[in-house]
Subunit: 365 residues, 2 copies
């Protein structure tokens, strides 16, 4: 495998992942945690690991919150410091992704860039890399390319992409429409047709193509990120970034840019299947991490002794967890607090954080 | 309440309680653990607390294994050192209980003594003390007196006492028979009659009356414990104890002495109801410890945040345990290991200890 020429992938590293409490905390967001198949690598590190062969260290960009930039640099000690861009505040996804495109464009006017979330799991990096190489071919034509995961189940927690026919001369498919989280019946219909894909929020595009769409749909954002990127190139990036950032629109890249571009026929998708999950909940880990013969999943190398127990998801903190006669439970020993809940309640873990604060234990959140 | 004259209660402190693993360990048996309503007192300390008003410090005897005698003395710093007798090896219950009677008899030929397990829970100490005072009246007549707990359910894990009519001139009832753990149908019949009581293994008797029965039924044990007791009075107790102890019979007090005495009409019982359990399993704690509105029981002052959760039994180790959407579970954080099992599997926890050893984690047992 060789690198993709002029490829500057951007990794937005934001979000705290409260549904993964008590592993995730305000000061220790999901992307810094080792939740993937390799217990020695955080989700962020694993994201970098699978992108590096495609781009090299010098062209990999990470955009994260100021509160986490030191931890990000600590986990990625070989990344050039200038490639970690600290957001003065969180402004949804269009601002950091457009900024990364502007910075890539400053460095190389023919740059290819895109967005790869820091907190997803991919269990088949080789398949991922092949898909990105295919997507890069499509993006080189000037289209915005989204990666569409072949749906494994009629999940109502994801957005869906309706794919059309193949585009001439490449592996891309046309995109007919995007749908936000559908109801269960709609999701079943989508999966049955075979032409709907999960929208993983994973994009590739030429920096100039993305910036052209930003300029058309969100001209204020365009001006802002161009100014900030120029300032970073000139050496006073953080100061200009702090001044301009609060004035920029707060909107997701999907709603702010991609959907509008799709209506103009400017979006393609590349279908993919590389063992992906957004790790939204502890339950979702069971779909991608290897389990034992009874389906018990050990997160982050947890030491688990399971007797008459099946389909549990367990995270430990250096202490063994012993299960006897239980099934479909989430058990998380985070070192300073222990959580037990059924997998089917994993969606409700985020709401616990408020209860923990109400109980006077905000220090654990 | 005043003390009972010449009352030398004996507390056999033995057994490890493997069904309470991982709280109980080889080196930290059940009786040293704070499993009762007061999280600041171990089961042993609570046993002493409820007996002390009846006897005073000078007459309270504890018989324990050599491996645990230092821990016992540490938990009972005010007890005279001579009142903690260390067994050179475990020899079931008749030897330590007969020895305690012999020691009490050395100190006072008219001594009243008996046996009160170190690892049971009593939630109503005042009712306990009233029952013991009543039992002491019956024992003063020379009968062996057993305390019979009014059954709360047709439990198949306990022995049963068939009580007869009232004895003249006191609160005692005749004892017709003893039955070991019955099957479920028999247990239901027993409870339905109203004349069966749980055998809690809690006894009172005059030391001379018990020793007379020992002499009749187990003469070798009689000679041995008289020699050992004389040696303790003379100052060379441990040496003589170590020499004689291995030669004594290993049999329970029920089988070795009480059942034979009952056949001769020498056993009475006193019915009682003071919130008792032998804490055989984590499940049994739920029957005696106070729960929250949803029936969740916090063992040893555990900090528990229970959301949509009911009837769980939780022990913690200075860390909070958070429950979401679970019911009828046992969750034990022992500091170095976490156990999760359904309450209905609590009987099977003892067998886990072998599995933990097989997994190379014998250090946790």
């Amino acid at each position: 495998m060789s690198t993709i020429p002029r490829f500057f992938p951007a990794i937005p590293a934001g979000g705290s992942g409260t549904r993964l409490w008590p592993l995730s905390r305000t000061g220790r967001p999901k992307f810094l945690l080792p939740l993937g198949p390799d217990p020695a690598r955080s989700l962020l590190q694993a994201t970098v690991d699978r992108l590096l062969p495609l781009c090299g260290l010098d062209r990999l960009l990470v955009v994260t919150g100021e509160a986490h930039s030191a931890a990000v640099r600590g986990q990625l000690p070989h990344l050039p410091p200038a490639n970690v861009i600290a957001e003065p505040s969180a402004r949804n996804s269009s601002a950091p992704i457009a900024l990364a495109a502007a910075i890539a464009h400053e460095r190389d006017p023919d740059a290819l860039t895109g967005s790869f979330a820091a907190d997803h799991v991919v269990t088949d990096p080789a398949a991922f890399q092949a898909v990105i190489e295919a997507a890069a071919q499509v993006a080189a034509e000037g289209l915005l390319v989204t990666v569409g995961l072949r749906p494994l189940r009629p999940d109502t927690g994801y957005g869906y992409i309706e794919a059309g026919g193949p585009l001439t001369g490449g592996p891309g498919l046309a995109v007919r429409s995007f749908t936000e989280k559908p109801d269960a019946a709609t999701a079943r219909d989508y999966v049955a047709t075979g032409s709907y894909l999960w929208n993983a929020g994973m994009f590739l595009w030429r920096a100039d193509a993305l910036l052209a769409e930003v300029g058309r749909q969100l001209p204020g954002l365009y001006d802002g990120v161009r100014q900030i990127a120029a300032a970073y190139a000139a050496g006073d990036g953080p100061q200009v970034h702090a001044e301009i950032w609060p004035t920029l629109p707060t909107v997701s890249i999907d709603v702010g840019i991609v959907e509008g571009a799709a209506q103009r026929g400017r979006v393609a998708c590349v279908p993919a299947d590389f063992g992906w999950t957004d790790v939204g909940t502890f339950d979702s880990l069971a779909a991608v991490l290897p389990g034992d013969a009874a389906g018990n999943v050990r997160v982050g190398g947890a030491e688990v002794l399971a007797v008459d127990s099946a389909r549990c998801v367990v995270s430990a903190a250096g202490r063994p967890v012993v299960l006897l006669g239980v099934h479909d439970l989430v058990v998380v020993d985070a070192g300073d607090v222990v959580l037990v809940c059924p997998r089917e309640r994993a969606q409700d873990v985020g709401a616990l954080v408020g209860s923990v604060r109400d109980a006077g234990r905000g220090g654990l959140t």
